[in-house]
Structures are given as structure tokens and as C-alpha cells.
């Protein structure tokens, strides 16, 4: 059963991690590309 748990854990954490990465990148790029009144956030 340990193998199965490991398999699920790896799949879920990688997918969640990548999804979070994408999400953050999207948000950050939208902020930086925003109109000039807003100073870009770090």
C-alpha cells in the first residue's frame, strides 16, 4: 500500500504545485502588465 500512497502523493503534489506555479505567474504578469498608474508589485 505504501507504493500506492506514494504514487498518488507524487501525482497530486506535482500537479498542485505546477498549477499553483502557473496561477502565481499569471497573476504576477497581469499585475506587471497593468496600466502605468499602478506601480508594479514585487
Amino acid at each position: 500500500m505504501r507504493y500506492i500512497d506514494a504514487g498518488y502523493a507524487v501525482a497530486l503534489s506535482v500537479l498542485t504545485g505546477y498549477a499553483a506555479l502557473l496561477w502565481r505567474r499569471w497573476r504576477r504578469l497581469e499585475r506587471v502588465a497593468a496600466p502605468p498608474q499602478k506601480p508594479p508589485a514585487r
Binding site: 505546477y18 502557473l22 506601480p39 514585487r42
Partner: protein, 275 residues
């Protein structure tokens, strides 16, 4: 969806709502698959609890090998063909390759984890594993070419060629490794992992396919949007940098997003001041 030279890329609220719904649906269906797969469904007669990875590994493999790679190959071909050329296809291909790389790597890892207790080995040189491993290398090659600084058109051309060559190569590799085993005099037969699926298992498997496809779709759309935004910033970074300079006064400007630099042997036009 494509951006003009100076207009900031924007998407309609409706499409963003669809994306959000897609994200929610993926999270729910994946969670449901995990719950059903790990606890609700019965263990297999031959494989016991090891069968539970069938709800995860084949769906991920399908997404990686057929969906992501297929979209990448078709988009690249459509971009390369002059009559259908549009920035959309290049960006879609790039997004699909990146997300596909993640899924391909996961296919190999979950397959290996499944294989170890089932076959006793972490790896076997059978047709599927070998061509999947090769696909991963080919996708990494695409990503490497993508990262070479160049104007969008040149980069798109190179990447499209890599995608097409890869699309042609993977089936050839699959066939040759297959023959390798069947024609070999002391044929090595790797036991097939496919268990007999029925009842609750079948439904869970179907849900698994749907869930990971939805997850892929969400990631593809977000990655596509990231690509559009990143390209927009690359095109306008000089303007952005100047705006930042003016708005922040004597303070040093924020480091520019990566993209400025030399691909061919030229010195960069803009050097970033160290903060």
C-alpha cells in the same frame, strides 16, 4: 485574444468565469477520483491494492502522450502552414508542450512506482516506457529551443520544426522497440499492467480520465494566457521600464522580466541596473 503592440491583453469576464469554473471542476473531479480510487473501490483479484494506480497512471499517460503532445504537434503544423499561420497556434503549442512535459514526467514516475511492486523492477525497456521516456527528452528539447532569445517568428519556426520532428519520431521509436521485443529470439514479455475493470472500478476510471483531462485543460488555458502576457511584456519592456523609471523617481527600477538578451551574437540593447 492576441495582443496588439501596445494594448494590454485582456480577456472577457465571461471567459475568465469559464476558466474559473474549469479550475473548480478539475479540483472537484480529481479529489473525487482520489477518494474513490484510494478508499471506495475494491482491491483487484490479482493485483490487490496495487490496482489503485490505474485510476491515476493511465489517465495521466493519455493526457501526456495523446492530448498534450497531439495538440502541440497539430498546432505546430497549423502554425507552419502559411494559410493557417497565426500567433495563436504557436502559443498554444508552447503551452501544450510545457504542460505536457509535466504530465509526461508524471507518467514515467507513476508508471515506475506502479511497476516496482508489480514487476519487481523500477524500469523496463518495453515499447511504452521507452517511447514515453524518449518523448520526455524530445519535449525538453522543445522547451530548450523555446528559451533561446529570438524574435517571435524565428522562435516559432524553430519550435514548430522540433514539434513536427518529434511527432514523426515517437511512433517510429514505439514501433521499433516493439519489434525489438517481438523479433528478439529470447523474447522478453513484460506483463501488462491492465487489470480487469468492472463496476465501480470502471466508473472511477472514467472519472479519472475526465478529471485529469479537465486539469490539463485548465493548465493549458492558464499557460496560454501566461504566454500571451509574457510576450506582450517582452515586446513592450522598454516602454514598461521607462514608465517605471519615471513613476518611481530616483529609486532603482524593478528588474525586467527575462527575455532581454542575445540569442545571435549581439549585445543586449537594454542593460538592467542592479537594484
Amino acid at each position: 485574444m492576441s495582443a496588439g503592440a501596445a494594448t494590454v491583453p485582456r480577456w472577457s469576464t465571461r471567459s475568465t468565469r469559464v476558466v474559473r469554473a474549469l479550475g473548480a471542476a478539475s479540483v472537484l473531479s480529481v479529489a473525487a477520483t482520489v477518494w474513490l480510487g484510494l478508499w471506495v473501490t475494491p482491491p483487484d483479484q490479482t493485483q490487490g491494492n496495487l490496482v489503485r494506480l490505474v485510476y491515476v497512471h493511465p489517465p495521466i499517460a493519455w493526457v501526456a502522450l495523446y492530448l498534450a503532445f497531439g495538440i502541440a504537434a497539430v498546432s505546430s503544423a497549423l502554425w507552419l502552414w502559411p494559410r493557417t499561420r497565426s500567433r495563436f497556434w504557436d502559443r498554444l503549442a508552447a503551452a501544450s508542450v510545457e504542460v505536457g512535459t509535466v504530465f509526461t514526467a508524471l507518467t514515467l514516475v507513476t508508471g515506475s512506482i506502479w511497476g516496482r511492486p508489480t514487476w519487481g523492477v523500477w524500469w523496463a525497456w518495453d515499447a511504452r516506457l521507452t517511447s514515453t521516456a524518449l518523448l520526455l527528452v524530445l519535449l525538453l528539447g522543445y522547451l530548450a529551443v523555446r528559451r533561446i532569445p529570438a524574435d517571435a517568428d524565428a522562435r516559432a519556426r524553430r519550435c514548430a520544426v522540433v514539434a513536427l520532428v518529434s511527432a514523426v519520431d515517437v511512433p517510429i521509436v514505439h514501433f521499433s522497440v516493439n519489434w525489438w521485443h517481438t523479433l528478439h529470439q529470447q523474447a522478453v514479455i513484460t506483463p501488462d499492467l491492465s487489470p480487469t475493470i468492472h463496476g465501480a472500478m470502471a466508473w472511477t476510471l472514467l472519472l479519472g480520465f475526465v478529471a485529469f483531462t479537465l486539469a490539463f485543460a485548465w493548465m493549458l488555458v492558464v499557460r496560454y494566457r501566461v504566454e500571451v502576457l509574457a510576450e506582450h511584456l517582452e515586446d513592450n519592456e522598454l516602454d514598461v521600464a521607462l514608465r517605471e523609471r519615471r513613476s518611481e523617481g530616483p529609486r532603482a527600477a524593478e528588474p525586467l522580466p527575462t527575455g532581454a538578451g542575445a540569442g545571435h551574437d549581439t549585445t543586449p540593447l537594454v542593460t538592467t541596473p542592479t537594484p
